[in-house]
C-alpha cells in the first residue's frame, strides 16, 4: 500500500492492472512538450469518466490525479484506520455558521476520485429538479432538461452495471437495471418495516456494486468496508471501470501529479497545466483543459491560476467561481432494537425512501430529501457516540450495543446561496499553493427541511421497532462552485461544461450543479460527463470545438 503514495505507478508506458495482482497494462505516454487534445485535472466521477469518453472518441488525453493509483486487490486492507490515505487530507479551513466537516466526510484523493470510497448509491435526479425554479418555484433551473440527460443516465448505469430492483418506485418509468438487486441487510429491513407500517414506499437501493461477476471483477461479498476501499473489485468505482477503459483507448493517467496552475496564453486561451510530480514542477501542453477536481479543488485551481489577463482567477469575470457551494444536510436518527442488526455486514446503505423527494404535500419548505439505512463500522460509530457527548465508562458500555443499533441518515437538499463558497486563504500548502477556505451556513429553508426530515426519520425508525431514539447532525456530498447555466452573467460554464470566459477551458465534475437535489450526486455527475464527452465529439465533427 505504501509504495503507491511515494512513487508514481503509472509511467514508462504502463499502468497497474487493477484486476490482476502484480500485473500491468500498457499505457500510452505523452511528452510534456507534446500538445495533447485534452489535459484533465482529476480522475474521479467527472474526470475519469470523461477521460474514457474522450479517448474512445479518438482524442489524445492526459488525466492528472494528485493521489495514488491503487491496486484494490492488493492495497486495500479490511481496516478503517489503515485506509486513511484514500482521503484528501491537505489543509483546508472550514467556517461559516454551520462549518462543513471535510476530509474523509466528502473528499477523495486518488485515481478514481471519491468513487473509490463512496457508498455506491446510484440514483437519478427527480426530473423536475432540472427546472426547479420554473416548475417548483425555488432554486435554479439547469441549462439542461431531464430528457436531455436521460440517455446518459442510462449509459452511466449500463457502464457501472448498477444492481437495482425490478421496479424502482419513484421517477420516470425506466428500463430494468442491468444487474439484479442485492438482498437487503438487517439495517435496511428496519427502514423497510418502518416505512411499511406508516404507509409510505421504500426500496432496495440501486447500487454500483456487482450482484454477479463481471469480466474479471467479483460480485459483492457483503464485507461492509466499502467506505474504506473495496478489495474485491465488486464496487464499480471509476478506478475499475472508466479508468481501465480510458487507458485501453489510449489515454495516459498520471498519478501523484498535483496540478497547481492552468497556464494561459496572451490570446486569452489556456495552453496547458503546471503540475508537480515527485517534487518537480513541470508543464503539459494541451489544446483544451478540463478541471474535474470536485467542488472545492476546482474553484481553488481556477482562483489560484489568476494571471494579469485574469486577475480574479480564470472564468471568474462575474465573481461566481467558488460561490453557491452546496452540501447535503445529513441529520441522523439512531435507536436500539431488540433484534440483532450487525450493520457492519454488506454495503452501508441498502434501503431508502425518496417519498419526500417526490411528494410535496404538507411541506413547510422548498425542496426534497431522501433517507437511507446505515452501516457504520466501529471507529466511525464510536466517534458518532463521542459527538453525542459520551465518553468514559458510559461510551464503552454503550458501544456494546453496537450490534443492536440501527439508524437513518438524511440526504437533504440545500439551497444555492452566494455566500456559501470557496475562497483562497493566505496560508499555503506543501506545494506552495494557497489553501482553500470554505464557508457554509444553512438557510432558513434548509433548517425547516432538516426538521421535517428529522420528524419523518423518527417516525419511520420508531415504527421499524427501534427505541431510545437520539439524533446526530452531519453533512455529506459537496456540489456547486462553478455552476452551469444559460446566461454568461450568472453562471460559470454553459450546458456543455465550457467556461463562458475561456473557450478551451472546461469543467466536468460535481461543481457544475446549480442546485443540490435530494439524492446522492455521482450518477448525475457521471451522466453529465458522458454527455459532455459526446457533445465535445459532436462539436469537433462540426468544427465548433476550437472556436
Amino acid at each position: 500500500m505504501f509504495d503507491a503514495i511515494d512513487q508514481p505507478r503509472a509511467q514508462d508506458g504502463r499502468a497497474p492492472d487493477v484486476f490482476r495482482p502484480g500485473a500491468w497494462v500498457q499505457m500510452r505516454c505523452y511528452d510534456d512538450s507534446e500538445q495533447v487534445d485534452f489535459a484533465i485535472v482529476g480522475t474521479g466521477a467527472g474526470g475519469g469518466t470523461l477521460a474514457a469518453k474522450l479517448a474512445e472518441a479518438g482524442f489524445s488525453v492526459v488525466a492528472f490525479d494528485a493521489g495514488p493509483f491503487w491496486r484494490p486487490l492488493e492495497d486495500f486492507a479490511s481496516d478503517e484506520a489503515a485506509q486513511g490515505d484514500l482521503y484528501w487530507t491537505d489543509e483546508r479551513i472550514s467556517g461559516g455558521a454551520d462549518p462543513i466537516q471535510l476530509g474523509s466526510n466528502n473528499s477523495g484523493r486518488g485515481v478514481g476520485g471519491s468513487t473509490v470510497h463512496y457508498t455506491m448509491i446510484a440514483l437519478r435526479w427527480r426530473p423536475d429538479w432540472f427546472k426547479s425554479r420554473s416548475k417548483l418555484g425555488y432554486g435554479r433551473d439547469w441549462p439542461l432538461s431531464f430528457e436531455e440527460l436521460e440517455p446518459y443516465y442510462e449509459e452511466a448505469e449500463e457502464s457501472l452495471k448498477i444492481s437495482g430492483p425490478v421496479r424502482y418506485p419513484w421517477g420516470k418509468r425506466r428500463k430494468r437495471y442491468p444487474y439484479r438487486e442485492h438482498p437487503v441487510n438487517a439495517s435496511g429491513l428496519v427502514l423497510a418495516r418502518g416505512c411499511e407500517r406508516i404507509g409510505i414506499d421504500w426500496s432496495p437501493l440501486p447500487l454500483a456494486t456487482l450482484s454477479a461477476p463481471r469480466g474479471m471483477a467479483h460480485p459483492c461479498v457483503y464485507r461492509g468496508f466499502c467506505k474504506y476501499g473495496c478489495s474485491t473489485n465488486a464496487k464499480q468505482s471509476v478506478l475499475v471501470t472508466f479508468v481501465p477503459r480510458a487507458i485501453a483507448a489510449g489515454a495516459e493517467i498520471r498519478d501523484l501529479a498535483m496540478v497547481g496552475r492552468i497556464e494561459m496564453g496572451k490570446d486569452g486561451r489556456a495552453t496547458g497545466v503546471s503540475y508537480n510530480r515527485r517534487g518537480k514542477w513541470r508543464q503539459q501542453k494541451a489544446r483544451h483543459v478540463v478541471v474535474a477536481g470536485y467542488a472545492i479543488e476546482t474553484p481553488r485551481l481556477l482562483l489560484n491560476s489568476a494571471c494579469p489577463e485574469f486577475p480574479d482567477g480564470l472564468a471568474n469575470d462575474n465573481g461566481l467561481v467558488g460561490t453557491h457551494l452546496m452540501t447535503h444536510s445529513g441529520p441522523g436518527v439512531w435507536g436500539v432494537l431488540d433484534e440483532e442488526i450487525r450493520s457492519y455486514k454488506a454495503p452501508p446503505c441498502m434501503a431508502g425512501t425518496e417519498h419526500w423527494n417526490y411528494s410535496d404535500e404538507g411541506k413547510d419548505f422548498h425542496g426534497g430529501y431522501a433517507f437511507m439505512s446505515q452501516g457504520p463500522l466501529p471507529t466511525d460509530w464510536a466517534q458518532t457516540l463521542a459527538a453525542r457527548g459520551l465518553w468514559g465508562a458510559a461510551l464503552r458500555q454503550e458501544m456494546t450495543r453496537y450490534n443492536h443499533t440501527a439508524g437513518l441518515v438524511l440526504v437533504g437538499e440545500t439551497e444555492p446561496q452566494a455566500h456559501n463558497r470557496v475562497e483562497l486563504a493566505d496560508e499555503k500548502d506543501q506545494y506552495g499553493l494557497r489553501i482553500p477556505r470554505v464557508t457554509f451556513s444553512y438557510s432558513e429553508n434548509d433548517r425547516r427541511l432538516i426538521e421535517h426530515g428529522r420528524k419523518s426519520m423518527h417516525q419511520v425508525l420508531a415504527a421499524g421497532g427501534a427505541h431510545q431514539l437520539w439524533d446526530t447532525h452531519d453533512t455529506s456530498h459537496l456540489m456547486g462552485g462553478c455552476r452551469m447555466g444559460d446566461d454568461p452573467k450568472d453562471s460559470v460554464v454553459d450546458a456543455d461544461g465550457r467556461t463562458w470566459a475561456i473557450p478551451n477551458l472546461w469543467v466536468c465534475d460535481g461543481s457544475l450543479f446549480p442546485n443540490s437535489g435530494g439524492v446522492n450526486p455521482s450518477l448525475t455527475i457521471q451522466a453529465l460527463a458522458c454527455r459532455i464527452g459526446d457533445r465535445i465529439a459532436e462539436m469537433a465533427k462540426r468544427g465548433e470545438l476550437d472556436r
Binding site: 461479498v221 464485507r223 474485491t232 460509530w381
Partner: protein, 202 residues
C-alpha cells in the same frame, strides 16, 4: 468501571486470523498494530504522561492488565503530521492545537487544584474534563484555543478512534472484524454467520 460487561465474553476476533476472513494485507496491518507500538517522537514526556492520564478517563480500561495502547498512536500521527483534511476557523493547525490543548488542561488542573492532572482523584479528573467539554474553563490557560472544540474535535475523537481500531475492542463489542475475502452470507435480522460473534443473553 469494574462494572463493564461485554455480551461477547467468549469471542476473540483474532481467532479468525488464519481463516478466509483475513487476507495478507490486513494481517500485515493488524500485526503492526499489535506488535509494533511506536516510540515517543512528538510529545514531550510531560505531555505524554498527561495524555495517558486523560486517555485513562476518556477510555477507561481498569479490568485490563495490559490496556490497549492509545497515546503512542496519537503521538505517531502527530509526528507524521497526518491531518484530518480541514480545521475550523479559529483552530490552529493540528499539532499546535494539541500542544495548546494539553497545556490548557495541565494549566486548568494547577489553577483549580494546585496540582498535576495525573495526581488528581478520578472524580476530580472527570469533573475537570467535563468542564473542558462544556467549554467552562478559565480562559487564561488556553490562549485563543476553543477548549470545547479541542475536546470534541481532537482529543476525544482521536482517543476513541485509536481504541476502537484495536482487535480487543472489536471483540468486546461483537464486531465481525476484517472480512475479506470471505465476507458474509446471512444478512437479515437476527441472522448470524458461524464466523460471527455469538451474543450471550444475560
Amino acid at each position: 468501571m469494574s462494572g463493564f460487561k461485554t455480551p461477547y465474553p467468549d469471542y476473540d476476533v483474532l481467532k479468525k486470523w488464519d481463516t478466509p476472513s483475513w487476507n495478507e494485507q490486513t494481517r500485515a496491518v493488524i500485526k503492526r498494530r499489535l506488535d509494533e507500538i511506536p516510540e515517543r517522537r512528538f510529545l514531550s514526556e510531560d505531555e505524554w504522561t498527561l495524555l495517558e492520564a486523560i486517555a485513562a478517563r476518556l477510555m477507561p480500561q481498569p479490568e485490563r492488565e495490559a490496556p490497549v495502547p492509545i497515546v503512542p498512536w496519537i503521538d505517531e500521527k502527530l509526528a507524521e503530521d497526518r491531518r484530518p483534511g480541514y480545521r475550523y476557523v479559529g483552530m490552529p493547525p493540528m499539532r499546535e492545537a494539541w500542544r495548546q490543548g494539553l497545556a490548557g488542561i495541565a494549566g486548568e488542573a494547577r489553577e483549580r487544584h494546585g496540582t498535576d492532572f495525573r495526581d488528581l482523584e478520578p472524580d476530580a479528573q472527570d469533573a475537570l474534563l467535563g468542564a473542558v467539554q462544556r467549554g467552562e474553563i478559565d480562559g487564561r490557560q488556553w490562549g485563543d484555543l476553543p477548549a470545547d472544540r479541542f475536546f470534541s474535535e481532537l482529543l476525544l475523537k482521536e482517543i476513541v478512534a485509536v481504541y476502537y481500531s484495536h482487535p480487543a475492542a472489536w471483540s468486546e463489542i461483537g464486531f465481525g472484524g476484517p472480512a475479506s475475502p470471505r465476507g458474509y452470507v446471512r444478512l437479515g435480522l437476527d441472522e448470524r454467520d458461524p464466523w460471527e460473534a455469538e451474543e450471550q443473553h444475560v
